[in-house]
Structure formats: C-alpha cells, structure tokens
Amino acid sequence: MFGTEAVLYDERSGMVHHLNASACAIWMLLDGRSVSDIATNLARASGTAADDIRRDVLQTIVELESAGLLHG
C-alpha cells in the first residue's frame, strides 16, 4: 500500500497491478461484503450518491475478476 493506492503482485502470473485510490478502496472492502454494502460504505465516506458508486464498484469488481485477482 502506498497511501491511497496499491500495487498487487500476482505470483501465479507474474503480473503487477496498480490500483488507483478508488479501486484500492473497493479492493480493501472486498471481504465478503455485498456490492451494495461496499457502495454504501464508500458513498458515506465520499458524500457521493450510492447509486453512482455502485456502478463503479461493479465495474471495478469485473476488472479485478478478469485480471484474476479475485479468488472464490
């Protein structure tokens, strides 16, 4: 972790992934919470509408999934 950003190293593939601040915030909340919970959490922290953030959360999860960074 570097402040609000993160760099992930996938040992299986040797790939390195740079998560910007918003992606990193979402990544940190991926501990079994639902998308709605994550969106609500972030909306509360940022003062943004939860529905707007929900789209970003979904998109980020899709991208993390396609990068092979999500297990289970």
């Binding site: 570097f2 402040g3 950003e5 760099v7 190293y9 040992e11 040797g14 390195v16 740079h18």
Partner: protein, 280 residues
C-alpha cells in the same frame, strides 16, 4: 589460433571470474574492454569462462563459450563474441546477487549519492550513463544496478558501457582513442570517459524516456507508479516472487522516483544534478 591461455582475472560485482581463450587478438580485446574490472588474483574458486574459436569457416559462427565446463553457446559470430561474453558475465552477477535487488539499469554517483537509471533498451540509459561519467559523475555500472534493500547501498560493477553509434558521444569517443573498429555498438570502459565510483547509498531512481518532441524534464512519480515501472526492469521478479517484489517496494518507499524525459544530454544532466545528491 594458438593453444589455450588465460586472459586474466576479473571481478563481476564481487564475483571473481577468469577468461580463457585460444585467440591472442581476442584475449587482448577482452583485457582492453574489461580493464576496469580486471583484478590481480581471482582467488581459489573463480568462475571460469572459456571462449574458443573452433576454427569453423564462414558462414559458420566460429566461437563457443563455456562456463565452468558447461557449454553456454556453441556458435557465436565473430563481431558479437565480446558482447556475448559480457552478457554472460552480467547474467552470472544476476544469478548471485544474494539479497540484493538487481535492476536493468545504470547507476552513477553525484555528491555521494547514487542515482539508478532504469529503463528499457533504447531508452537512452547507457548513452546518458556515458555522458554523465564524462561530465564528472562517478560511474557505478551500466545495465546491472545492484541495490541492497536494507542498507540502500548500490554496489559497483564497472562493466563497459554499451554505446550505440552514431550518437551524441561520437566526438568524445573519437577524442579518446579506442582499440578496435568503431561499430554500430561499441563497448567503452568507463575509465576512458571518467571516474569509477565505489559503493554509494541510493538517493533516487529515474526512468529515462527518449522524448524528442517534449521538453527535457524530471517528473516526480508516486511510489505506486514507480514500483510498477521498476518491476519491468527487475529480471529476477519471477524467480524471486513475492520476496523480490517486497524488496523492490522497499526501494520506492525509501527514495524518490522520477520520469526523465530526455533528448538533450546537457539539459538532462542539469536536471539530474538538481536532485542527485539531495535525495529529494
């Protein structure tokens, strides 16, 4: 061709090695180009390189190279054999770094602090390293920067600089007489250009990019972006895995990193002087 003979003993970043060959002219060239890493005594168990002309006529490539009796390459071209030997020596260093991080980059010293120039081929690292050495910076290495992630000390490996020609260094190379033909790439002992430096603490990391359409400048990079960039110039990432990745992370946490946009060596040197030795 003659019988085999030992050319000399040398040091690759703390690893002693010897070179044997059966060609006097090649042996002389090795001693010329490796002059900065030649040592008096390789000790009891140096790594042994044998570089032999097999006597094969054209179009066959005549040279073979063995390391400690194991064949590494069987057919090396006459105009490439010295470069290939240097590559093998550098690979040897990369295999035996201990806990140090080895980066594909140059390293130089200014005001007691080292700067590592990491980047892809043709980014201008070696040309810049040669230029900085010529302009009074201390030369630590080209192509093989070794950094201890705990102490942040950058170790010297005074291998010759691989300078592409034609290029901005041509007038300098002409004024410093070099043995051998001036090919598209020449190996230049750093001592021909300037001073060799001893180990120095890492002060900063720069990623040179040749940008002819943009102004020369040094642009700070955040540690996350710098780490991503650095992983691309760390040959040992796959082999060292997570441990290697963490060692890299310690470097970007400890020192500032910059993107160096360059197309003018004078200007590049000026901007680098402003940060080197300052660590900020």
């Amino acid at each position: 061709m003659t019988g085999r003979f030992r050319v000399g003993s040398f040091d690759a970043g703390g690893i002693p090695f010897t070179v044997e060959t059966n060609r006097r002219d090649f042996g002389a060239r090795v001693r010329e180009i490796f002059r900065d890493i030649e040592i008096a005594d390789a000790g009891l168990s140096p790594v042994e390189f044998e570089v032999l002309d097999r006597g094969k006529p054209p179009p066959e490539h005549p040279w073979s190279l063995c390391r400690d009796g194991v064949q590494r390459e069987i057919a090396v071209a006459d105009n490439y054999v010295l470069t290939y030997l240097l590559w093998e020596v550098t690979q040897l260093l990369f295999e035996r770094t201990g806990g140090r991080v080895h980066l594909h980059g140059a390293a130089l010293v200014h005001d007691g602090k080292a700067i590592v120039l990491a980047g892809r081929s043709h980014a201008g690292k070696s040309t810049l390293a040669a230029w900085l050495t010529y302009r009074g910076w201390g030369f630590l290495t080209d192509e093989a920067a070794l950094v201890d992630p705990d102490s942040l000390m950058v170790s010297p490996f005074w291998r010759p600089i691989n300078v592409r020609r034609p290029g901005p260094l041509d007038p300098i190379l002409k004024e410093r007489t070099l043995h051998g033909p001036l090919d598209a790439e020449v190996l230049v002992p750093a001592s021909v250009l300037g001073a060799l430096a001893g180990a120095a603490p890492l002060g900063s990391i720069a990623f040179p990019r040749f940008t002819p359409e943009e102004e020369v400048g040094l642009f700070p990079m955040g540690p996350a972006a710098a780490l991503v960039e650095l992983t691309q110039h760390f040959p040992g990432l796959i082999a060292d895995g997570r441990a290697g990745f963490r060692r890299l992370a310690r470097l970007v946490e400890a020192v500032p990193a910059y993107e160096l946009r360059l197309h003018d060596l004078d200007k590049a040197e000026r901007v680098l002087r402003a940060v080197a030795g300052n660590g900020s």
